[in-house]
């Protein structure tokens, strides 16, 4: 990395706020300055810190995934009816005129000129998506250091779904993060894995709701069959990691084991519509061999046992340790750090709070230069925390920024999520967009005080003389703030 070499380790307060957290709000530096490590650890001890609680006034009105999906199903049904009605009326003009009897024509009023149609209400899925986005952005602004939020984003990207898949995922992607990720970020990996893989959003995103055991009752009746998408991505991305030794036969076998994990449909034959259910009729009967072990026939429990085994597999520990170290320390993480995290993962049975605490205790986390780039979401969150909130109750601008920066919210290009390499976010196009965004944020910031004071509050005494001087000599407060938001100390973490 081309950060000028510096003999001394980075400022620990900056490490805590930028490498581990979401950047400083005014006052944050002072609050943690006496012991940044303890400040981060205190976050890990706060009960329910990761949750977006619906009891909280700020988040009231967000539905769970089941009612969200039900709303989407109802809207889908209505849209279908509307389409059919429209086709029916346009397809049968002759019939319509034949029905126009003389009496009806006689009573007909002159047709009023068509009113300008009111702007149609946005689809329910878009409304839900925006409310969830607003909650996520609020939570980012309200977090203390934001380490736990960063962990949420890490796991949400590890177990990503994409709203581009369909309306069901668009309606439930935010609820998925609240229900399957947040409750477990300081809990057990195996519990998160289970919650993720049985969540309707994931079952839809990776097609398992349609996968049917070829020899199951449904498979024989309907001539439908396996879809191996979820099975493959669980092994390759969620647990063991690619190249860890599983074969195509393992993938197919696991796909059979996972058949029946689905979501109850609109008619509610299998359970409450939109909820996660096990459909025994679609489950492939019989024992199955996976990774050399036989899993006896056992309905839903067959996949639960297999998932539990994968969660404890040494390859999974290695895979998760590498990703965590890459995310929080460096693109090419120090091998000692990876080994240490893998050991803690294995010893603690995937205790994610212990893993997070280990990261804080790692000397490498405090000595490695701040050379990674903030991801687009972290960048936008850091802008809001330092320069003030965006338009009230409207996530539109932040969402547009994320789209432009190439990290649209809950819409990764594939099931492997967004890149976690600095190069991906330091692209020419990406940097130009960051410049435009920094300018827009600076222009709309209310009461910019003295940009030099903001530099002290957000970056602190380790800011380079060049950054300090550039801000001091800015031609306006707005330009000074934009320079702060573009400074290497603000971009890198």
């Amino acid at each position: 990395m081309a950060i000028p070499a510096s003999g001394s380790p980075p400022d620990p307060v900056l490490v805590a706020l930028n490498r581990f957290g979401l950047g400083a709000r005014p006052g944050d530096r002072d609050r943690m300055a006496h012991d940044p490590r303890a400040y981060l650890k205190a976050e890990l001890r706060q009960p329910d810190i990761a949750l977006i609680s619906l009891d909280d006034q700020a988040y009231a009105g967000l539905p769970g995934s089941t009612p969200a999906i039900q709303a989407s199903m109802a809207a889908n049904f209505q849209r279908k009816l509307d389409r059919e009605r429209m086709t029916a009326t346009t397809a049968q003009p002759a019939m319509a005129s034949a029905l126009a009897t003389p009496e009806r024509v006689a009573h007909a009023q002159p047709v009023p000129p068509p009113a300008i149609p009111a702007k149609p209400a946005p689809p329910i899925e878009a409304t839900l998506f925006r409310a969830e986005a607003q909650a996520r952005l609020d939570k980012a602004s309200r977090a203390e250091a934001g380490f736990v939020e960063r962990l949420v984003y890490f796991w949400s990207n590890h177990f990503c779904v994409s709203v581009a898949k369909d309306n069901i995922v668009r309606a439930s992607a935010g609820a998925f993060e609240r229900e399957a990720i947040r409750p477990f970020v300081l809990g057990r990996f195996a519990d998160m894995l289970m919650a993720v893989e049985r969540h309707p959003a994931m079952l839809f995103y990776l097609d398992n709701q349609q996968s049917i055991g070829p020899d199951s009752r449904a498979g024989k009746n309907r001539r439908r069959g396996l879809n191996e998408n979820l099975a493959r991505e669980i092994m390759e991305l969620h647990t063991l990691g690619v190249g860890s030794g599983y074969t195509q036969a393992d993938v197919t076998s696991f796909a059979r084991i996972l058949t029946g994990w689905t979501m109850a449909g609109r008619e509610g034959r299998l359970g409450e519509p939109g909820s996660s259910v096990f459909n025994a009729n679609a489950h492939e009967p019989g024992d199955a061999v996976l990774l050399g072990k036989t899993y006896p026939a056992g309905g839903m429990g067959q996949a639960e046992t297999a998932l539990n085994d994968m969660a404890r597999h040494p390859a999974t520990a290695q895979h998760i340790a590498t990703q965590l170290a890459r995310h929080f320390i460096a693109d090419d993480p120090p091998p000692a750090a990876v080994a240490c995290l893998a050991k803690v993962f294995a010893k603690s049975d995937g205790n994610l709070r212990a893993l997070a605490a280990t990261l804080i205790d790692m000397p490498e986390a405090w000595s490695t230069p701040l050379a990674k780039m903030r991801s687009p979401f972290d960048y936008v969150a850091a802008i809001r925390r330092s320069a003030g909130p965006g338009p009230a109750n409207d996530p539109g601008q932040s969402l547009n920024w994320l789209n432009a920066l190439g990290e649209p919210l809950w819409q990764p290009p594939g099931p492997n999520g967004f890149s976690d390499q600095a190069d991906s976010w330091a692209s020419a196009e990406g940097m130009k967009i960051r410049l435009d965004i920094a300018w827009q944020a600076a222009r709309q910031a209310k009461d910019i005080g003295n940009p030099n004071d903001m530099l002290d509050a957000v970056i602190g005494p380790s800011a380079s003389p060049e950054t300090r001087q550039a801000i001091a000599r800015a031609e306006s407060k707005q330009q000074g703030l934009a320079l702060l938001l573009m400074a290497p100390e603000f971009q890198r973490r």
Partner: protein
Amino acid sequence: MSLLCETPHPSRRAVLMTGGALFAWAYLPRFARAADNRDPRLIVIVLRGALDGLSAVGPIGDPDYAGLHGDIALSLAGPHAALPLDGFFAINPSMPVFARLFKANQAAVVHAAATGYRERSHFDGQDVLESGFAGPGHVATGWLNRALESLPAGDRVATLGGLAVGPSTPLVIRGAAPILGWAPQSLPAPAGDLAARVLDLYQHRDPVLAVALQKGIDADRMALDGQIGGNAIKPKDRAMKAKGGLDSAAGMRQAAQGAAKLIAADDGPRVAALAFDGWDTHVNEGGATGRLATLLGGLDGAFEEFEKGLGERWKDTAIVAITEFGRTARINGTVGTDHGTGTVVLLAGGAIKGGRVIADWPGLKPAQLYEQRDLAPTSDVRGVLKGLLAGQFGLSAAVLADKVFPESAAVKPMRDLIA
């Protein structure tokens, strides 16, 4: 401390010093044409997610095709009849532009093709496809960038560098050779000299970001002001990002439209890479209509925009669309297809010796399928790419086998791809 701090308005020279030495094409005098008046260009479109080659270009003459591909098989009958290319293959009806170019001998298909990768992970498959290495695990540089790097010093194509379209740089064109990044966007431009001040700060504190930002600013200016081909991109076209993004059908077309303007310029890059996501059709893939057909229609639109936008440069241009692997020959239990092996490479452009489907057809009987499930690969994608690089830029087989596609001496450049 810097010049800038003393004078609030940077001189043009200061800006030049910032980015010029590393990436100067925006300011260079226009290049004279080569002696033979040929001015070759190569555009690489990466289709991420694994394109079902059997639904893009259907082997309708193969007696086993319709049975395997079931309801989504292409056919010459019905309201959405596929467009025949020759007596055996027909292309998806969502690609009329490609079919027209094929008839005009400006498009070709290589069928039953695959890279050397034989597993079925998208991400490893994409890394192999884009890095050009024999196996996964190489993610620093791509074959297209190394091809630029391998050209003789001072070569015009090498000097002009490459173009990466989209908010992040596709692996295929990452590397040491200079790359310009560009994507359509719609944020208000910063006022005053903010850009110059940030660049100056980066020059002193973070040279990597300095280079990236300078390139981004150059590209934006080149693409948006009137100097490229005389036509500025209209503001409404710039607003695409908020909508479907690069991967919607409209997005593919608009990305090609903008890229064509940059590439067509006399002093613009001669190679370009675009990546379109979303080809992973596990469920309800559709055949002649539906999800895949919509995507193919977008790709077809991209070909059309390149043809239009490149103008007289089209005759020297080769476009190649590649994907990490194919999909299962037999449709799965959800009227889609799972990860497979052999697929198609699509070639278009005035430089292509077209009108041909190039295939050593392996057949679709169970014993002929790869692992009894996928179209067996009989052509190596690297051979096609080598043939294009050799034909367009004169790279030797030795350089191609060593530097551009390491450890690939056994894969010979496919001959006669370029007219």
